[in-house]
């Protein structure tokens, strides 16, 4: 067993490397991913080792990155696109929504689109405008796309390989503020399936759902709650489309209470869908409505105000209290 302590950034780098070794058709594309290794260095060293044909420094054009990835996929390649920051995915939105997402259906399965779109997402790093967005709901509302949000180095390492191997387009969301967090990664383990959620902490009083950057926050909240004798079950959703709610439903049937946490604006965020589905599935078990903790319904604020915008431990606990008191 070869286990290494890796940051999420390094885990992604190794995962990409392994995927490129495993399959010569894997091509990385993005702005500044080659010589520079990407602004977060996730692709560091890959162009040096795999060459410019497989790690492509692209022109500055996101529609171009995704649009040409479609053509490369048609030709049998497996493009892995990097969007430099979450806020810059929108120039590519047309290609993603009208082309990538629909290609398999419109060709009645004749073409598949094994395209991965890596997006560093979310806030908390004190960045300027458009560098802290959480656009997952736009994608999860779009049939034909799959959406994954990893929360830790182990899932990052395996998830990126699984996403690349998957035959469908995957929006692969990387919580940029967790890039530097470390974990032990067993590089030879058998990974968990990509498209499944997972209970990451057992508890009895309230089920707390999170994904990406908020998993850590939820776990911290559970820790704090435990000190006050309150027992939170935390589920890492891991995949946002398809949503794997079976473990969630089982949990909520037991706890009777559910809180969903995400950074994205709360209105029509993932929490809305989860609340609707969990309520339908657990109607008779619920002691309180599913409560949502999310970004406020305002544009992401300037960096020095982001702490007041982002859900944190206290806001999660506040929702837990409200759920308990309902």
């Amino acid at each position: 067993m070869s286990t290494e302590t890796l940051t999420m950034g390094k885990a992604l780098n190794l995962g990409l490397r392994r995927a490129m070794e495993d399959d010569a058709k894997v091509v990385l594309m993005g702005e500044d991913i080659g010589r520079l290794g990407g602004v977060f260095r996730i692709t560091d060293g890959l162009q040096k080792d795999f060459g410019e044909a497989r790690v492509v420094d692209t022109p500055l054009s996101e529609a171009g990155i995704i649009g040409t990835a479609v053509g490369l996929a048609m030709r049998g390649y497996r493009p892995v696109c990097e969007i430099q920051f979450d806020g810059f995915v929108f120039p590519a939105f047309n290609q993603l929504v009208t082309q990538v997402a629909k290609m398999h259906a419109r060709t009645r399965g004749r073409l598949s689109m094994p395209v991965v779109v890596r997006i560093p997402f979310g806030g908390g790093i004190g960045a300027v405008e458009h560098h802290s967005e959480s656009p997952e709901a736009y994608f999860a509302h779009t049939p034909g796309l799959k959406v994954v949000a990893v929360s830790n180095p182990v899932d990052a390492y395996w998830g990126i390989q699984q996403a690349i191997a998957a035959p469908d387009p995957v929006i692969f969301l990387e919580p940029k503020r967790r890039y530097w967090e470390k974990a032990e990664v067993d590089l030879d383990a058998t990974p968990e399936p990509l498209f499944g959620s997972r209970v990451v902490r057992r508890g009895d009083d309230v089920t707390v759902l999170a994904y990406g950057p908020m998993v850590k926050t939820a776990l911290q909240a559970a820790e704090a709650a435990a000190e006050e004798g309150r027992s939170l079950e935390v589920v890492d959703l891991r995949t946002l489309s398809p949503l794997d709610l079976d473990p969630v439903v089982a949990s909520v049937r037991r706890t009777g209470r559910c809180v969903v946490v995400h950074e994205a604006q709360v209105t029509l965020g993932m929490g809305a869908e989860i609340a609707a589905r969990v309520t339908e599935a657990c109607f008779h078990s619920l002691e309180a409505p599913v409560l949502r903790v999310g970004g406020w319904d305002v544009p992401y604020p300037p960096a020095r105000m982001e702490e007041e915008y982002l859900p944190d431990l206290d806001r999660v606990l506040d929702a837990v209290d409200r759920a308990m008191a309902f």
Binding site: G64, G67, T68, A69, L72, R75, Y77, Q95, Q99, G144
Partner: protein, 378 residues
């Protein structure tokens, strides 16, 4: 083969009219009167068989088009986008492609589809609302129609980048319209193709209109000049001259295959019909213009040329017409009997790997549908 008397070609509307002014920058190999002219940059050597083959294709695709328009009027299609007037641009471009090449059409390239061997019924099914195009893009080397303008030009560029990585000797042909030239994506496609010297040829059918908008709304200079700004050659070809289109596109594809990067071909033509069957062009264009362009008809000019050169006799022409009627009949009967697949199939090709929630929704759908079947049997 006997030389034919001139009359065989049939009455040519306006054949005696003055030659439309030659544009200095327009590549032409066949005048509207059917006379072969030379162009310093583009020689072409076509055998009589090839010439007759081109003529046959032009006539057949026009007949298909006419039949489709009729079928739409009769309620058998939801919509039809006519290629009337653009047959030469499409048949010429289609014939320039080699077997391993790939073409990315818009929604009007029925003539290219035909040349690529796509069954017309697989195009009709789209306009009937049965599917989004029934042909296999890989097997035919002809992608499905793309309706979001001009998303396919980036796909073509990416595909060409794949060809490059494969070290294959193929090229890619990306179709788009004069209106499409204003979209960011086609400009990005050209920028990428130039940057990577990708083996892709951009083929713009400038049919003078984007629905109601004349080309001047999109560009104040001839569109082929756009390419120079991106650092690659652009050429304007008479889009109603099948020989010139063939020669120019073939040369551009050859250059692409040889690693010389992209070319922009502007096929200067005219949309003789409405934008689609939903459109009413009398609201925005004058009959004069139509009459003027009727004099440059792509089929007439090739027929005149064949006649002049004694390459087609009455039997041949009649044979092509008969073939066209057969094709039309086949298209008609095939279209009318075309039914959509079972509704539940809409759940099946969303993903290559089905998801649990969608499988559940599919089951829900079937259960719900079955309550009606029960009701129907009562």
């Amino acid at each position: 083969m006997p030389t034919l008397p001139r009359e065989v070609a049939g009455p040519v509307p306006g054949a005696g009219a003055p030659h439309p002014p030659r544009q200095p920058d327009l590549v032409q190999l066949l005048t509207p009167e059917g006379r072969r002219v030379e162009h310093p940059g583009y020689a072409i050597d076509v055998s009589p068989d090839e010439l007759r083959g081109l003529y046959r294709d032009l006539v057949l695709v026009r007949r298909w088009d006419t039949e489709a328009t009729a079928l739409q009027r009769q309620g058998e299609l939801g919509l039809w986008a006519s290629l009337l007037g653009q047959e030469a641009a499409q048949v010429g471009a289609g014939h320039a492609l080699a077997a391993g090449d790939m073409a990315f059409p818009t929604y009007r390239e029925h003539g290219v589809a035909w040349v690529r061997g796509v069954d017309p019924l697989h195009v009709m099914s789209l306009f009937r609302g049965v599917d989004n195009g029934g042909w296999d893009p890989v097997a035919t080397g002809f992608h499905l129609y793309t309706i979001v303008i001009p998303a396919q030009t980036l796909h073509a560029t990416g595909y060409a980048m794949g060809v490059q990585r494969d070290g294959a000797e193929s090229a890619v042909l990306a179709f788009f319209g004069d209106g499409a030239s204003s979209q960011g994506e086609v400009n990005e496609a050209m920028i990428w193709a130039a940057s990577f010297a990708a083996p892709v040829v951009f083929f713009c059918q400038n049919n003078q209109y984007a629905i109601s908008a004349p080309t001047e709304r999109q560009s104040r200079v001839p569109l082929y000049q756009r390419a120079a700004g991106f650092g690659f050659p652009g050429v304007r070809v008479d889009g109603n001259d099948v020989l010139a289109v063939l020669a120019v596109t073939r040369a551009a594809l050859a250059a692409a295959r040889e690693g010389q990067g992209p070319t922009l071909v502007e096929a200067f033509t005219y949309r003789m019909g409405a934008h689609t069957t939903s459109d009413d062009p009398t609201r925005y264009r004058l009959a004069d213009e139509l009459e003027e362009w009727a004099l440059r008809d792509p089929i007439v000019r090739l027929r005149l040329h064949l006649a002049e050169e004694g390459l087609a006799d009455e039997a041949f022409l009649a044979g092509v017409d008969a073939e066209a009627d057969d094709l039309a009949a086949r298209i008609r009967s095939g279209t009318i009997s075309m039914e959509p697949p079972p509704a539940v199939s809409m759940f099946d090709a969303v993903y290559a790997e089905q998801t649990a929630p969608l499988a559940a929704q599919r089951a829900e759908f079937e259960a719900y549908r079955s309550t009606f079947e029960g009701a129907g049997q009562e």
